[in-house]
């Protein structure tokens, strides 16, 4: 065997080790789209709470109003649903391009790692809402989402780890400055996803 063949062989070993243990079909562009959806959602939430006619910082409504609360929950769930569908469909397309499927040992490991922090965070937030601690919901969802990303990052792009840590930091800031939840959500679920998506797209999809 000559030098080139040997190096190629070692490259293949490395490639197989990574391919078999990391789920790389997540589309960077889907991150950008999901970030945009989040910004639209944050905008809708802003107008639901602050109204359209007031100056900056003055609220037409408070979240304590039951009707406003339900509107916010519906907006959040709608954006979540659209984001998940977008993410899955675009991952499917990307996997197909590389002759792979999206339901394999790596995607299962990824979902398993995300599930515990995410489900915990979801239940945690539901309990907060049930007990009327609305001001803590935005920060706790950001924090638990960040934790789930950090846990999942072992099984996908390493950039996800940084994204997770930044989401946690934003969540902590949101906790320190209650009342600005919608801004931290726009930053965490909107801006960060867009930046992350562009970076992944540039590094891995060109």
């Amino acid at each position: 065997m000559n030098q080139q063949e040997l190096l190629k062989e070692i490259g293949q070993i490395r490639n197989m080790m990574e391919k078999s243990s990391k789920f790389m079909s997540i589309s960077g562009l889907s991150g950008v789209l999901i970030g945009c959806f989040a910004l639209v959602g944050a905008g809708a939430a802003y107008y639901t709470v602050y109204g359209t006619k007031s100056d900056f910082g003055y609220r037409d409504y408070y979240v304590l109003d039951q009707q406003v609360l339900w509107k916010l929950i519906v907006i959040a769930l709608l954006i979540l649903l659209v984001s998940i569908v977008t993410g899955v469909l675009m991952a499917k397309a990307k996997a197909k391009k590389h002759g792979q499927t999206i339901w394999n040992p790596t995607s299962k490991a990824l979902l398993k790692a995300m599930a515990i922090p995410l489900i915990t965070g979801g239940l945690f937030s539901l309990i907060l809402i049930a007990r009327g601690n609305y001001s803590l919901v935005a920060s706790s969802l950001l924090i638990f989402y960040g934790l789930s990303l950090a846990a999942a990052s072992v099984f996908t792009f390493r950039e996800v780890r940084v994204l997770g840590v930044l989401e946690i930091l934003l969540g902590l800031l949101a906790l320190a400055f209650p009342g600005y939840g919608v801004w931290f959500w726009a930053a965490g679920f909107g801006l960060l996803h867009i930046i992350y998506g562009l970076i992944v797209h540039k590094r891995y999809e060109k």
């Binding site: 065997m1 040997l6 197989m16 080790m17 394999n104």
Partner: protein, 100 residues
Amino acid sequence: MSLDLTLYDKVLENRVRLQIMSILMANDSYDFNSLKELLDVTDGNLASNLKSLEKEGYITVSKSFIDRKPNTRYSKTDKGQKAFENHLLALEQLIKQQYN
């Protein structure tokens, strides 16, 4: 530098077998269908290579049923791990030797 070819493993000279071992190095265990998808080989080719790795004592097989469908999982043995590491060392030495 003298070349130590005792580390070079004839069993792992085969590309499919080497790749199977690479996958089992990075994962606790892997199932037949996922291996097939990843390696992009035929059932027969994969099965015969798995068989020879098993015969060599490099991997173990465990069969079970998930939703009544057979699920065959493979994992590396200590012997297999050692053989793989030695084979990598041999490849490394081969590369170094050609630089000198």
